[in-house]
């Protein structure tokens, strides 16, 4: 990836915090269905698996069946001899068989290599060991059965706390602690000693499966000497990693991201890419690879289980004096993005509350469990259960209401957070709290004698945008065509949340091109300027700003031409409905169609195409002091719920659920609502149902029949309260909403259960067995 744009008029924009010119907007704020919705309801949207080429082969990964073992030998002769098998590959066929993930950007995690295909050692069940390509999927599957791997089983370690023991089995020679973060502000020990009350709590979360409905898939082929893979990925920039594995120049690998059938972070790391690439490269033929659901659930990365230990010191009036937090995250067998997930865990572990003294430690620890990595919420989610349970405990101990204790401690614009940064946008927690509780109204009555009803809520802050020290940037290339239509080219990928559609709405707002006349080309390393992947709730902020600035710059470029053609000044022009008009004195008279304007530009040699690179805030973080720049900004919110607990069965029924977030400005309220409803539902699954059950590294949850995600029957409708503070760092002062909406759910439900039964759940998921055990303690 390079900065050096050689495309038309590169222009770099810098972030600004000032509010954009206010309404009225023409497109922003409307609940629009967009181009991708039409394809989706027609069923014509093409996903990664919907691609077929002449002579295409079918690929399959052979995976480790043991969590920790030495590979003595791999016998492939029988598989190779099967008619229809074209290639069988093992570690020795991989040109550079190692990926070193430096998720923190080199701020202190171990440099641990991950092989593409295991060579002499496997470290988790499901680790790729060999590859097959055959003329049909059936033959590829049969060949996979014929590959004999001779293992010598080794001791493994499956509990991250046990892995911290000095005598523990070492998953990697480099050590079991991938990274340790320490963020310190003030003197937490002293403040705890001086506090009127210290509340201690321990909370545990579980492995969670993304469970996107589209399994990992892709098709690869060779084209003009370029290895091309069209795949379900959030990050096309993995092209560079694939090139490294094959020892190819980076410009000889092209990655295209199809519209995804969900991702949630699970398609942020590479999935099928290196395997497809190897098979295509070795066979010279097109190859398709689709992971079976069982395979996906067995071997794909999961959400980190956290063990969180909190000590919260408060004054008698409820003011928080100190937080001492210790977090252990199970990284599984390889680094992936654990270093950054655990950073977010520590950095956000105090929540949206003023914390003058903080000692926040987090560690990512290797085990022989399935690797964990990015998952919507990214470490800042797990800790909400910690800090919001603590807040309720503080309130209870002091005899204050849970709302009051929070109100006394909410962060405000200008406050310093534990990393030493000052918040530069409004913190609307209080408004979201009020809106959520107002919406719930009077609590309902229990439906039977064995039932108890409780109300709980949780507030949260979730970053949007990458950690600042990555010096993030995104670019967009806009072209007004001769007929007045607009092309947007952007390296953004679309998870299904309308990432591409948002860009169209932003451009339409500025340039006045009707939405139906905008085409957006995304997710292609060969043809789009880089946007840096769709994760960290960063694309509205990053690519949204890139498109906004590109559109403004393009408008500024063509406006003088329009002014000349219309005999007025550029500031008298309006761009609306595909027309440029003179609007002075409240009346709009003469105008130009955009096609006429483009023709006018052509005559005057003014280019109607523009590439803009937008840079986020720049900064640095010092891992020794735990101080520095962490995230660009945050989205705040409150979720509130009424639940009913059956004290005879432990069953928890969610009766009502309200989710409120300050999104700064809702670019498309229908999609904002959809994000919040979907996030809260996924969070309810996490709170009450979902658990990847691992026994000595073996998963008992590799079928949807064993791993339950919420169905239409399990949960109530999620009621949404959108707050628009008008402050945020995205386009038109929007804040990101992808991740924030999942994060407070488990804490809200836990607080409601505690309110109902007087006993506090501290372990997720809050299954009937666990809740019943709590009920019996009453």
């Amino acid at each position: 990836m390079t900065d050096e744009a050689t495309l038309p008029s590169p222009a770099t924009a810098r972030p600004s915090v000032e509010p954009d010119s206010a309404a009225p907007f023409r497109v922003v704020g409307l609940p629009l269905a967009h181009h991708d919705f039409v394809d989706k309801v027609r069923g014509t949207q093409l996903y990664a698996a919907d691609w077929k080429l002449p002579g295409m082969l079918y690929g399959r990964v052979i995976r480790s069946v043991l969590p920790s073992a030495r590979i003595r030998s791999i016998e492939t002769a029988e598989a190779r001899a099967l008619p229809g098998v074209i290639a069988v590959l093992t570690a020795r066929d991989v040109p550079r068989n190692r990926v070193v993930e430096r998720a923190s950007g080199g701020l202190g995690e171990l440099a641990v290599e991950m092989p593409v295909l295991a060579h002499d050692r496997v470290r988790y069940v499901g680790e790729p060991v060999a590859l097959v390509a055959a003329v049909s999927q059936q033959i590829a599957d049969e060949a996979a059965e014929l590959i004999e791997v001779d293992y010598r089983e080794l001791a493994g370690v499956f509990d991250p706390e046990a892995a911290l023991d000095p005598g523990a089995t070492q998953v990697h020679d480099e050590g079991n602690v991938l990274v340790e973060w320490n963020i310190r502000r003030g003197d937490a020990e002293r403040a705890l000693a001086e506090a009127d009350l210290v509340v201690t709590g321990e909370y545990r979360s579980q492995h969670v499966e993304h469970a996107y409905l589209e399994p990992e898939a892709g098709v690869g082929w060779m084209e003009n000497g370029v290895l091309t893979i069209r795949v379900a990925t959030q990050v096309i920039e993995h092209a560079a990693t694939v090139a490294g594995i094959l020892e190819l120049p980076e410009n000889k690998v092209r990655v295209i991201s199809a519209y995804m059938g969900g991702g949630f972070g699970g398609k942020e790391d590479m999935t099928v890419e290196p395997y497809l690439a190897l098979l295509v490269w070795r066979t010279g033929r097109p190859v398709r690879m689709i992971w079976e659901r069982q395979e996906s659930m067995l071997a794909s990365t999961k959400r980190h289980p956290f063990v969180m230990r909190y000590r919260t010191g408060v004054r008698a009036d409820g003011t928080i004096l100190a937080q001492d937090v210790d977090i252990i995250g199970d990284a599984g067998a390889y680094p992936y993005l654990s270093a950054r997930v655990l950073f977010a865990g520590a950095a956000l572990s105090c929540g949206p509350y003023r914390t003058r003294n903080a000692s926040l430690r987090s560690r990512a620890v290797f085990t022989n469990n399935v690797p964990t990595s990015a998952f919507r919420g990214f470490g800042a989610m797990q800790v909400v259960l910690g800090y919001e349970s603590q807040m309720d405990r503080v309130a209870e101990a002091l005899g204050m209401s849970p709302t009051e204790v929070r109100r006394r401690n909410f962060l405000a614009k200008g406050d310093i957070i534990p990393t030493g940064e000052s918040l530069d946008t409004v913190v609307a927690c209080e408004e979201t709290l009020r809106r959520a509780l107002d919406r719930l109204g009077e609590p309902p009555a229990p439906s039977g004698p064995s039932k108890l009803v409780g109300r709980g809520f949780a507030c949260n802050m979730q970053p949007y945008g990458r950690t600042i020290w990555f010096r993030d940037r995104a670019s967009a290339w806009l072209s007004l065509q001769a007929d007045g239509t607009l092309l947007i080219r952007a390296g953004i990928t679309d998870l299904g949340a309308g990432q591409a559609a948002s860009l169209c709405e932003i451009a339409s707002e500025i340039l006045g091109v009707p939405l139906g006349e905008i085409s957006v080309y995304i997710g292609d390393t060969a043809l789009n300027p880089p946007a840096g992947g769709t994760f960290a709730t960063r694309q509205l902020y990053m690519s949204g700003n890139a498109v906004l600035h590109a559109a403004r710059q393009l408008r500024a470029k063509v406006a003088p031409v329009a002014a000349e053609m219309l005999a007025c000044t550029p500031d008298q022009l309006t761009f609306e409905d595909g027309l440029v008009r003179v609007a002075c004195g409240g009346q709009s008279g003469t105008g130009l169609r955009l096609a006429e304007l483009v023709a006018g530009c052509e005559q005057r040699q003014v280019d109607t195409s523009l590439l803009s690179i937008w840079r986020a805030e720049q900064g640095a973080f010092d891992p020794r002091t735990g101080q520095g720049d962490s995230f660009p900004d945050y989205t705040y919110g409150t979720h509130a719920t009424d639940v009913e607990v059956d004290t005879e069965t432990g069953e928890v029924k969610v009766l009502r659920y309200v989710a409120s977030h300050d999104v700064g400005r809702a670019i498309n309220p229908m999609r904002v609502e959809g994000q919040i409803q979907g996030g809260a539902m996924q969070g309810l699954g996490y709170a009450l149902m979902e658990d990847v059950v691992l026994e000595e590294g073996n998963s008992a949850s590799t079928l949807f029949a064993h791993y339950f995600i919420p169905t239409s029957m399990d949960m109530p409708d999620v009621e949404v309260e959108i707050v628009e503070s008008g402050e945020g760092k995205g386009p038109f002062n929007a804040r990101g909403i992808g991740e924030p909406s999942i994060a407070p759910t488990a804490a809200a439900v836990a607080n409601a259960i505690a309110n109902a039964i007087g006993q506090r759940p501290t372990q997720l998921p809050m299954t009937p067995e666990r809740v019943l055990a709590l009920c019996l303690r009453r």
């Binding site: 609940p31 309801v41 027609r42 949207q45 996903y47 949807f704 169905t711």
Partner: protein, 169 residues
């Protein structure tokens, strides 16, 4: 395995296809007939992304062999489209309510909803919930899907072409 020639009727059109006895209906529809709207999601009949209508009833195409479909009428979401590929009112409701996010579950959802609407004159929201239990969605939280279907079943018959003559008491 020896292949045999079977005749399939899909969306009112006849196809002759060579299949092995173990080939799944899903694979034949998706890979052989090129119908991307019938999608592999789990292969165990739980997620509903491969839902098709089989003689007017919803089935999971991943749980059927292609040869079992011989002589039966199969419909995918494409069959909902009207003249000139116009969107079906049910699809319009889905569009209007933003009932699709990633869209992967959408065709299955629509086919299930269509079956319900043909069978039941005015299903309640709870009945719709019950009907959709075999179609998982991981993006929307179901609310907007339910809103869309609820609006559709509330439409009068002329806007609900499928309801005529198929009403149950």
């Amino acid at each position: 395995m020896r292949k045999r020639l079977i005749s399939l009727s899909v969306n009112g059109r006849g196809y002759d296809v060579w299949v092995t006895p173990s080939e799944l209906l899903l694979d034949v529809l998706h890979d052989e007939l090129g119908l991307p709207e019938v999608r592999y999601g789990c292969g165990e009949g739980v997620c509903g992304t491969c839902t098709v209508q089989f003689d007017g009833h919803t089935v999971s195409a991943c749980l059927m062999f292609a040869i079992q479909a011989e002589g039966h009428q199969i419909s995918t979401v494409a069959a909902l489209l009207g003249e000139g590929e116009a969107l079906h009112p049910l699809q319009e409701c889905m569009l209007r309510h933003g009932g699709a996010q990633c869209g992967f579950c959408t065709p299955g959802m629509l086919l299930t909803a269509d079956c319900l609407a043909k069978r039941t004159r005015r299903p309640s929201r709870d009945e719709i919930r019950h009907e959709l239990v075999g179609n998982l969605c991981r993006c929307t939280g179901y609310t907007k899907i339910l809103d869309a279907i609820e609006e559709y079943v509330s439409l009068s018959s002329p806007d609900r072409p499928s309801v005529e003559g198929a009403e149950l008491p």
